[in-house]
């Protein structure tokens, strides 16, 4: 049943929202359509988790989410220098991409209870979730080589910025204004750099030691 629902969201609802939104709201309301799509694309992961997760997995995801939110709260004074993406990547490396997606998207929901919920919440959920999901595919090479880890953490920072700026432009203009997008990217360049830098710093410092802890837990409790 849940599987059916998740297929429906993917193959029916998302195109329906896109096409329907474009037809009904001729007034260039792409921002809201993208928002709905971002939210809908999280649903299959949530449903799969709801259906499949055992207690151990559930608790692990809760702990990793709390840690990444805690990191975001601790680093509030330094703008954009946040360990959230790093935690999402570490989770994905050791518990798989799906756990990474969940930790990313749940961290966005929870931390925004402090930092303010808004129309950007679904985009953050989606962006951090996606960073985690992709990290899951690259987990083996990232564990083996530091260079891959550094490259991915830079890419994650840059793509986070790219994705959130799509939202900025759609929100401000109602349609995808390429010149504003480029302007937004340029003005966000320092932030992008800090995102990437914070990812690299946190991953270089924490990936190995936290990885050791997670490996040990996995062996000890047969995860």
């Amino acid at each position: 049943m849940k599987k059916v629902i998740s297929y429906i969201t993917f193959f029916v609802l998302i195109p329906a929202v896109t096409v329907g939104g474009a037809l009904i709201f001729r007034d260039r309301q792409y921002a809201w359509i993208t928002l709905c799509v971002a939210l809908l694309s999280c649903i299959p992961f949530f449903l799969h988790f709801e259906h499949r997760a055992d207690v151990k997995r559930l608790v692990t995801v809760a702990v990793m989410t709390a840690l990444s939110v805690l990191g975001r709260i601790i680093f509030t004074p330094i703008p954009a220098f946040k360990p959230v993406a790093a935690f999402v990547i570490i989770t994905a490396m050791y518990f798989g991409g799906e756990a990474g997606f969940l930790v990313g998207s749940l961290s966005a929901v929870i931390s925004n209870f402090w930092f303010g919920q808004g129309p950007w919440t679904p985009f953050q959920m989606f962006s951090w979730g996606l960073i985690g999901l992709v990290a899951g595919f690259l987990s083996e090479p990232m564990k083996k080589s530091r260079i891959v880890l550094i490259i991915y953490s830079i890419l994650a920072g840059v793509s986070y910025s790219l994705m959130t700026d799509i939202w900025t432009v759609l929100w401000a203009d109602g349609y995808f204004n390429i010149s504003r997008y480029l302007a937004a990217l340029v003005s966000a360049l320092p932030f992008t750099a800090v995102y990437a830098l914070s990812n690299v710093v946190f991953l270089l410092i924490f990936a190995r030691p936290i990885g050791k802890i997670l490996e040990r837990i996995k062996v000890k409790y047969a995860l």
């Binding site: 809201w32 692990t60 809760a62 749940l106 303010g116």
Partner: protein, 293 residues
């Protein structure tokens, strides 16, 4: 002062979905400005007094930024005001910029009110029955936050007791904090694993679980949800018939004042100012009761 917040979570969610939903899709200046005003008034009541100046310092520049940048990036429209670097700055784009700024700030205002009113417990209560595991995960994560902060303090104190501390500069302190953090991670994970085993021993996930909550759906909630849905329906009817359509490009359109459009405007205005009125009424009642003691 949260008279509005005392409604049932389902009522509150319906209200916020209705107002933000209309706000998103109604491209009509009257409705957007009404919603912005309603949002600002509601927000003023919910905020702590000392937070207000800081917020003004954030939202007013943002408003100006959005309003000013639109005509610089968008050259649509037929009435050029002046030329900048060979590109026309048009009247339409400038007006649309102000409209966008109203939208952006308005949505932010309503989301701020949403965050104030829909606290974590209400959110979890609503979704607990639909996605029980996911909401359990969320509520555990919420609970872990203060717990982890406390554990970090405990570990720091213990390390200090062992003589493992340093004030020899920044790098050393960071290193120390990192070590505390790592030990809290492993402590918390081990602890969480024990929690999970204990949950499994109590047959978690084998049957449907009940949960405790203080929320009850009363007559008052029923009336409120009916009023919300009625106003929502009236507004949406106006919008769907096209009476409230408004165009900025290529030339600024005329505002429709047909009966249908006026009904939509006024019912949306009532909807937007409803929380403000309820809050003020609650505050006045409270004053009155206090004066009787």
């Amino acid at each position: 002062m949260k008279a509005f917040g005392s409604f049932h979570p389902a009522v509150l969610l319906t209200y916020f979905v209705a107002i933000i939903g209309i706000f998103m899709f109604a491209s009509n200046p009257v409705m957007r400005v009404t919603a912005l005003l309603g949002g600002i008034l509601f927000c003023l009541l919910l905020q702590k007094k000392r937070e207000i100046p800081g917020n003004l310092g954030f939202y007013i520049p943002l408003f100006l930024l959005v309003a000013v940048t639109n005509p610089l990036f968008s050259h649509a429209g037929v009435t050029p005001l002046f030329f900048l670097n060979g590109n026309p700055v048009t009247l339409e784009a400038s007006v649309y910029g102000v409209f966008l700024a109203v939208t952006v700030i308005g949505v932010m205002m309503w989301c701020k009110c949403y965050s104030e009113i829909m606290t974590g417990d209400k959110f979890l209560y609503l979704f607990g029955s639909i996605v029980p595991k996911l909401s359990l995960t969320l509520s555990m994560a919420f609970r872990f936050l203060p717990l982890f902060v406390r554990r970090m303090k405990t570990v720091t104190t213990a390390r200090r007791g062992l003589g493992l501390y340093s004030q020899r500069g920044f790098v050393d302190r960071i290193k120390g904090t990192g070590q505390v953090f790592l030990s809290v991670i492993s402590w918390s994970l081990e602890n969480a694993m024990e929690t999970s085993m204990s949950m499994r021993a109590r047959a978690y996930g084998k049957a449907k679980r009940t949960s405790f909550s203080l929320f009850r759906f009363t007559m008052r909630d029923g009336v409120m949800i009916f009023v919300t849905l009625l106003l929502f329906a009236l507004t949406v009817t106006g919008m769907a018939s096209g009476a409230t359509d408004f165009f900025f490009y290529p030339r600024i359109g005329e505002l429709s004042l047909s009966p249908l459009a006026v009904t939509a405007y006024s019912s949306f205005a009532i909807l937007a100012f409803l929380p403000f009125v309820i809050e003020v009424r609650g505050a006045l009642l409270w004053r009155y009761y206090i004066s009787r003691i």
